[in-house]
Amino acid sequence: MSHVDLQHISKNFPGVKALDDISFDVKDGEFYVLLGPTGAGKTTTLRVIAGLEHQDAGSILFDGEVIDNLTPSDRDVALVFQQYSLYPTMSVYDNLAFPLRSPLRRTSAEEIQKKVEETAEKLRISHLLKRKTAHLSGGEMQRVSIGRAIVRSPRIFLMDEPLSNLDAKLREALRVELQHLQKTQGSTTLFVTHDQIEALTMADRIAVLNEGRIIQVGTPENIYDQPASTFVAQLVGSPRINLYKSRREDNTVSISESDVHLPGPLGSKLPSDFLVGIRPENVKPDPNGKFTGQLVLAEPLGVETILHIQSGQRTLLSLVPGISSYRLGDVVKFNIASEHIHYFGLNGNRLQP
């Protein structure tokens, strides 16, 4: 396993700046997630590391050595794609053994068998080894694809949305298993996704990408608790953060067109107009709450309920535990803890009040 370092990588396609001076490093044994919307440059970054694309500027280092001129096969990386790229006429066993049978690796038959069996056990597919891959379910196929990557010990695993084609339950289960595997094997992994919950749940660190640039790098907690911009604040978290234009007068912050007037941060350097962000779990119904609104919609999800509380012209989302007993039209009193309020400038950048 390796420490992977990207330094000032840029890549242009005709008419598009796909990557614009990207720098980050994945530490040895780290689970690193690139998170961003379609077109952010996530897959291009992965392909540049794999050597499938060549960057226009910048360097890539594996363990301190520049590998820019190595061919894809000499870089010794393993790729897992969204589409399961398996050999349909081969058995699961042969699919798993395939990367080890490369003449370059000179692995003995016994060694191959041992590694295939170990890998199958880790991924709970031992019972499928004799099956042809064409006869497997989607979840089983993706397990085999992951197995084919981890059967050898490459310097880094590059995973491009490997869970996107699976249904919700399978995605949840494989997410947990991938994380467990990565932690127990200590493998260096770069995982690309547009799904914020995958990023939060699996990553040691997340890099948020947009339009070919890195917007923020941090642990899941950093990204969630201290989003660097409104873009990050809205990308991460479900339901979405409450984000409203606000105005400061003396020491009061008022959310525009609402009845919410918050005590402003003391000695504040805030401008007079800005945006306020409040995560739904920090809008807390409370019979003695300072603010008053009306319940216009309730969405019970089971473990939690999303309440839509109208205050003036604004609707605030509130996330409460369990299945809420509020009824439509009820007056809801609520509080907002001032330590959980985010401030952003009108340009979207985080403000430190």
């Binding site: 249904d167 339950k169 949840e172 947990v176 298993e177 479900s238 979405r240 473990v303």
Partner: protein
């Protein structure tokens, strides 16, 4: 205003039962969700209500009128599909007005009704655009507006949000529900997404293998699933289910040698229904377990997930069973740490391992 009633409605394709005989009564103004995995019969059921599919048996009643053999156009029902079938050469306004113009409504009526629905959906700004120029969400709003403008007796919706990305699905979900709250039109909504079903339905009809598994409010299907299928299908993650052996008021589990003393209120039910040594499945939701150093049960840390406002700890109980415990954001436990926990005795459920049906507690006097 309308009620919909299905009496012993079934659908066969050759020997294959796409929908086994089912009974369902939908109240006036109710939002009913048909929920299940692909192939469970939910879409076929919806298509039979609309008349796009004939029934193989049973009858369908709309407002007390037998409509089983009526043509779709005679049923006064509006259908919203996953793919917004808009006329590409007409502007959004003309698309919305089309059903009314086709009915020969006066120009005044058309303008007034289009105006109303456009305001409701807040799409004033897209009226002059053609569908090809609109975002996916606006196309879906225009499609909805076109369905709403007719003021049909009932709406049938077949995964209308299926093609949208996650973020957008969330906001459209609440928009559709909000419309329903304002208009109260009877709605039958098909989805495979349990979150959508929970968030939107007044009642949920959970289907699997061509049959209804349970009909209930979101709270009922979540808290009291009728069988293991519903317990697994509803919730994210689903209900924790651990198989054990029942004897003398105790459930013995394999693997980490957990013993669970059955709470008092369940003792007599289980004793009556189970022989000593029978297999039983205990079930509890991830938020119904509390980590407690002196907890009755124990699991080994497999992974922990930060999920934003909360966290989920995944524990192995034995080789095959992983359970999930919801916690506040926590310092992650290292893999393989033993973690003790208790289950809130009011939130424990029991299932027959053979029939997969839930046991019902005895009603206390």
């Amino acid at each position: 205003m309308s009620t919909i009633e299905l009496r012993q409605v079934e659908k066969k394709f050759g020997d294959l039962h796409a929908v086994k005989p089912l009974d369902l009564t939908i109240q006036d103004g109710e939002f009913i969700v048909l929920l299940g995995p692909s192939g469970c019969g939910k879409t076929t059921t919806l298509r039979m209500i609309s008349g796009l599919e004939t029934v193989s048996g049973g009858t369908i009643w709309l407002n007390g009128r037998n409509v089983t053999w009526l043509h779709p156009s005679e049923r006064d029902i509006a259908f919203v599909f996953q793919f917004y079938a808009l006329y590409p050469h007409l502007t959004a306004w003309k698309n919305i007005a089309f059903p009314l113009q086709a009915q020969g409504e006066s120009r005044e009526t058309v303008e007034k009704r289009v105006d109303e629905v456009v305001k409701l959906l807040q799409i004033e700004h897209v009226l002059k655009a053609h569908p090809g120029q609109l975002s996916g969400g606006d196309q879906q709003r225009v499609a909805l507006a076109r369905a709403l403008v007719r003021r049909p007796a009932a709406f049938l919706m077949d995964e209308p949000l299926g093609a949208l990305d996650a973020d957008f699905r969330e906001s459209m979900r609440s928009e559709i529900k909000r419309l329903h709250v304002l208009q109260h039109a009877t709605t039958v909504y098909v989805t495979h997404d349990q979150i959508e079903a929970m968030a939107m339905g007044d009642r949920i009809v959970v289907m699997s293998e061509a049959a209804i598994q349970q009909i209930g409010t979101p709270a009922e299907v979540y808290n009291d699933p009728s069988n293991l299928f519903v317990a697994r299908f509803i919730g994210s993650p689903g209900m924790n289910l651990i198989t054990g052996e029942y004897a003398d008021g105790v459930v013995q589990m394999a693997g980490l040698d957990n013993r669970y003393a059955v709470p008092q209120e369940w003792q007599s039910v289980l004793k009556k229904r189970l022989d000593s040594g029978s297999e039983i499945v205990i079930g509890f939701r991830p938020e119904s377990a509390q980590i407690n150093d002196r907890g009755e049960l124990v699991g080994k840390v497999y992974a922990s997930e930060m999920q934003g406002s909360s966290a989920v700890l995944h524990l192995t109980i034995n080789e095959n069973e992983i359970i999930h415990i919801r916690t506040d954001r926590l310092i992650p436990y290292p893999i393989d740490t033993l973690v003790h926990f208790d289950i809130n005795p009011q939130m424990i459920r029991f299932f027959d391992a053979k029939t997969e049906a839930a046991f019902k507690p005895e009603v206390s006097q």
